[in-house]
């Protein structure tokens, strides 16, 4: 069975701290096997399907072949054995930035809808111009601040998303350091914004129709994974 696995730089498992053998000279990486009972998050080769990509984002995307017993678990699959087949070079900084862009655009669209519904046309124009005109940014920030603290409106999140997109923090002027000095890499921002923007969409849905947070969140995440699979031209 072919599945996907995200690893940190050097085919290194972030949580397992395991250095995976990588393909060489046209041959797949060596088989990695576990013994004993498969236990989610504790014992086994962990991988995910195309639908679950965005839950696992890390620096390197690998195609992995699984073998032996396998169990489906929340967010992925755990198998007895696996070997890395090839790395998807298409998942790179540029792809991660495009992913972030797409997430942020969706949040802007939600915010625009909200402004439309409340008849704030002037503000809507400012918002639409925002991406094109950096000087409109201050206005958008000010706009975000005019909303009540308790608001679940996406506008309230826009200022946050703006800062997160650049590796900063909500309500902070601190600038992110470049990656070489320990700042968040594009893949980390993709992981972050994917989550935040799905959360914003789910909150909007919950506010409109109570009880719909979870399904909206899941739907957003699936759509994000589909975007990625499409972009990377993954084959199921």
């Amino acid at each position: 069975m072919i599945a996907y696995k995200f690893l940190s730089a050097g085919a290194f498992g972030f949580f397992s701290e395991y250095a995976w053998p990588t393909p060489a000279a046209g041959r797949p990486g060596g088989w990695v096997r576990v013994s004993g009972e498969l236990r989610h998050c504790e014992n086994g080769i962990h991988a995910c399907t195309e639908e679950q990509l965005v839950d696992w984002l890390d620096e390197e995307l690998w195609e992995i072949e699984l073998d032996g017993a396998a169990v489906e678990v929340e967010g992925g699959v755990v198998a007895e054995a696996g070997r890395l087949i090839r790395r998807h070079e298409g998942w790179d900084d540029e792809c991660a930035r495009a992913f972030v862009d797409d997430c942020v655009e969706k949040t802007i669209a939600l915010a625009a809808e909200s402004l439309l519904e409340t008849g704030r046309k002037q503000d809507l124009e400012e918002l639409r111009a925002w991406r094109a005109r950096p000087d409109a940014e201050r206005k958008v920030r000010a706009l975000a601040l005019t909303f009540e603290e308790e608001s679940s409106d996406p506008i309230a999140f826009l200022d946050d998303v703006l800062r997160l997109e650049r590796g900063g923090r909500p309500e902070s002027e601190a600038m992110a350091l470049p990656v070489e000095r320990g700042g968040p890499a594009p893949f980390a921002l993709a992981a972050n914004l994917g989550f935040v923007c799905a959360h914003v969409a789910a909150q909007v849905a919950e506010h409109a129709t109570p009880g719909t947070y979870a399904e909206t969140y899941e739907r957003e995440r699936l759509s994000q994974s589909a975007w990625l699979a499409e972009k990377l031209r993954l084959q199921g």
């Binding site: 972030f14 998050c41 504790e42 839950d55 967010g75 992981a191 972050n192 989550f195």
Partner: protein, 79 residues
Amino acid sequence: MFSCRQIYDLITEYDEGGLSTSERRQFESHVIVCPPCRGFVSQIRATRRRLGKDSTPEFTAELEDSIVNAFRAWKEQRR
């Protein structure tokens, strides 16, 4: 899903295998989507690695001699 504060509070439990499967999954899910928590986890790991490289304080010849002298004195009074 866990909050950042919970990651901060539970990192050692996580590393020591003290969390349940469900808790481990929640822990990992959060860290993956949270850059400051990724940073924090990497910092704890680097801290542990650094401590593991700590060089032994000087166990001096002087100290060793004084201990051996104590041994000789002990041996002597046993006779």
